[in-house]
Subunit: 339 residues, 2 copies
C-alpha cells in the first residue's frame, strides 16, 4: 500500500512551507508572511472603510475567542494603543457538560471564567501593561445572564436576547465613560455573511439597511462601531491565532448550539466548497449594491431616539430603556422578600 | 416488533383521507377539495397580481413536465380558452443513458419526443380540440439544440444558454404571430425561489429588479409574461398532476444535472424542513420589499431596445439580434461545403 502524497504547499513569497492556502485569493503563505499579510490587509480595511484614524481612541470588545484576541493583537501590532473590554456573563459549561449543573450558570471554572483566563494570559504575555476594563454582570447588576434570563420573559427559551441587550449596554457605557471614539468587535466574514443571509432570507429591510462594517453612532456620546476583521474567513483568524501563539477558548458558548446562524454558516460553507470565494463575494457585492445602487436607501428609517433618564443611553421608549426596565424586573423577581 | 402507527390525515373540509398536507399553510385536503383549492388559489393569484383578464388570449408554454401541464389544465378548468405551445428541442436521453449516444441528441424516442408524447396524450384526453402550436427546432432552424450547441461557442459546456435563447425567441414569435396577449409558463415556487437565491447571493441588482411573477412586454408586439403557479411548491404541483390523472415526464432534462439552481433548491429544501414556509416567505417578502420599499428602483436600467431587421424581435445590438446571429453561424458551420 502506498500512501497518497500531496505536493508540499509553498509560500508565494519565500518558498518556505505554507501554513495556509486561501483558495479564494489563490494565495498560500508561510507563518511570518501570513502574519504580515493579515496586518497589511487589516490596515487597508481600516483605511478603505473609514473605520478610524491613528489618533482615535479604540476599545476592543474581547470575549476570549480567537477573533477578538486576534483583533486586539493586530491592532496593537499596527501601533494602535487599543484598550480591551471583557464582560463577565457568568455562563457555565451548560446543561449536560456537568451532571450537577442544570442551570447553565457558572460555578467555579465555567465557560465565562475560562474565557477570562485566556484574556488574562494574553495581557500577561504582552507584559501586562494593556488596559483591560472588566465588567462582571452578576456583581454589577445582581445576577448572571443565565439566572437573569430564567426570571424574565426574554429568557423563555435561551438567554441570547438578554445577553445581547446587556452586552450592547455595557459596551456603549464603557466606551462613553472612557472617552473612546471607536468600539471594535471581532466579527469575521463567516459571522457577517451568516447574518446577512438570515436578513436576506427574511428581507428584513431595516436590518439590511444598517448592516455593514462601520456603524456610525446613533446618539451623542456613543462610539462608532466597527468590524475590522469582516473580510477574513473564520479559518483565517484561527490560523492567525495559532501562528501568533494566542491561546483562546475553542468552545462555542454553550447556549449557541443549534442557533439559526449556525445553520446559515453551514449553508454558506457548503457553497464555498464548490465555489471558493462565494461567501466574500456575497458580502462585498451586498456592500457595493448598497453604495452604488442606493439599495435600501428608502428603507432607512430615521428613528426618533430618546434618552433613558436612568442610564442616559438612547432608547425608542418614552421613559426607561429596555435594558433598565428588564434588569429592574430581574432584581425585583430575585429579591429575597419574594421568595 | 410493533410498527409505528401514524394518525390518518383527514381533509379539513370533509373528513375524507387527505392526499396532501401543506405544513406551511397548516392545511390537509382530500383529492377533490385539493383540486378545488388549487383552482381557487390560481384564480386569486391571476387576479391579485394582475396577470390577465378573462378576455385576454393566453398561450401556455408546455414542456411535458408536471408544472406546465398542470398549468394548462388549471387554466382550462378556470374557463380560459388557453392554447398550448410545444417546442421540440431534439434532446436525447443524454450521455450515459444510451451507450451508443455520446451526443445528447435525440434519435428515436428521446427525451424531447417522450415529452411531446405526454402533451399529445393530454390533448387527446381532453377531446383533442385544444390548439397546440408545435415548433420543431431542427426542422425550422436546421439543427437540434445539442447539435447546434456543439458548433457554437455558447455550447462549450452545456447547451442550456443556447436552449434558453432559442426558446425565448420562439415563444415571443408564436405569441406575436398568433395575437396572444399573454404568455404563461409553469414556473413554481421552488424554481422561482432558487433563482432568487442565486440572484441574491450574487446581488445581481438588474436581475433582482426584473424578477417577479409578471413581466410587462419590453417591446411593441411582445406578450406579457406571467407565472401563475409561482406560489405553489413543486410537490404541490406533483400532487395536483397525480390527483388529476395527468401523466407527465418525470425525468429532468439530461443537461440539467448538477446545475447551480439544483444546489440552491437543495439549500432551500433543507431550510424548509426545519422552518416550514420559509421558501414562500423568502419570495413573498422579496416582492413586498420591492413594492413597499421601492427596493431596486434605482437599479432598473431602461434599455434602449432596437428591432432586429431579420426577425423583428427586440435586441440591444445594432443589426441582427443574438438569436439570428447565433443560428446563422450554426447553419454556416454545419453546411456540407465545410465538411
Amino acid at each position: 500500500m502506498t500512501a497518497k502524497r500531496y505536493p508540499l504547499m509553498l509560500c508565494r513569497h519565500c518558498d518556505a512551507k505554507a501554513v495556509i492556502n486561501m483558495r479564494q485569493h489563490k494565495l498560500a503563505l508561510c507563518g511570518p508572511h501570513y502574519v504580515d499579510w493579515v496586518h497589511k490587509q487589516t490596515a487597508r480595511f481600516i483605511d478603505e472603510y473609514g473605520m478610524f484614524a491613528p489618533e482615535d481612541r479604540v476599545l476592543v470588545a474581547v470575549s476570549g475567542g480567537k477573533d477578538s484576541l486576534a483583533l486586539w493583537d493586530i491592532l496593537l501590532a499596527l501601533g494602535y494603543p487599543a484598550d480591551g473590554l471583557y464582560i463577565g456573563l457568568g455562563i457555565g459549561w451548560g446543561i449536560g457538560h456537568n451532571p450537577d449543573d442544570d442551570t447553565g450558570e457558572s460555578e467555579g471554572q465555567g465557560y465565562s471564567d475560562t474565557s477570562y483566563g485566556y484574556i488574562q494570559d494574553f495581557v500577561q504575555a504582552r507584559g501586562g501593561d494593556q488596559t483591560l476594563h472588566v465588567v462582571d454582570v452578576a456583581e454589577e447588576f445582581g445576577a448572571t445572564i443565565p439566572a437573569a434570563a430564567r426570571v424574565t420573559n426574554r429568557g423563555r427559551e435561551k438567554p441570547c436576547s438578554l445577553c445581547g441587550l446587556t452586552k450592547r449596554h455595557i459596551m456603549n457605557r464603557v466606551a462613553r465613560d472612557g472617552g473612546y471614539d471607536v468600539l471594535a468587535t471581532g466579527h469575521n466574514l463567516d459571522d457577517e455573511a451568516a447574518v446577512l443571509l438570515g436578513n436576506t432570507l427574511q428581507w428584513s429591510v431595516d436590518y439590511l439597511a444598517r448592516q455593514g462594517p462601520v456603524m456610525p453612532p446613533s446618539h451623542p456620546g456613543l462610539a462608532r462601531k466597527v468590524k475590522p476583521l469582516f473580510r477574513f474567513y473564520e479559518r483565517e483568524m484561527a490560523a492567525y491565532a495559532i501562528v501568533r501563539g494566542i491561546d483562546y477558548i475553542y468552545e462555542e458558548c454553550p447556549f449557541a448550539t443549534g442557533a439559526t446562524t449556525a445553520r446559515y454558516k453551514d449553508m454558506l460553507n457548503n457553497l464555498e466548497l464548490s465555489s471558493p470565494g462565494i461567501k466574500l463575494q456575497f458580502y462585498l457585492r451586498f456592500l457595493k449594491a448598497k453604495k452604488v445602487n442606493n439599495l435600501f436607501e428608502n428603507a432607512h428609517r430615521t428613528l426618533d431616539l430618546l434618552t433613558c433618564p436612568t442610564c442616559g443611553q438612547p432608547t425608542t421608549n418614552p421613559g426607561e430603556c429596555t435594558f433598565c426596565r428588564t434588569w429592574d424586573r430581574v432584581r425585583d423577581r430575585l429579591a429575597p422578600s419574594r421568595t
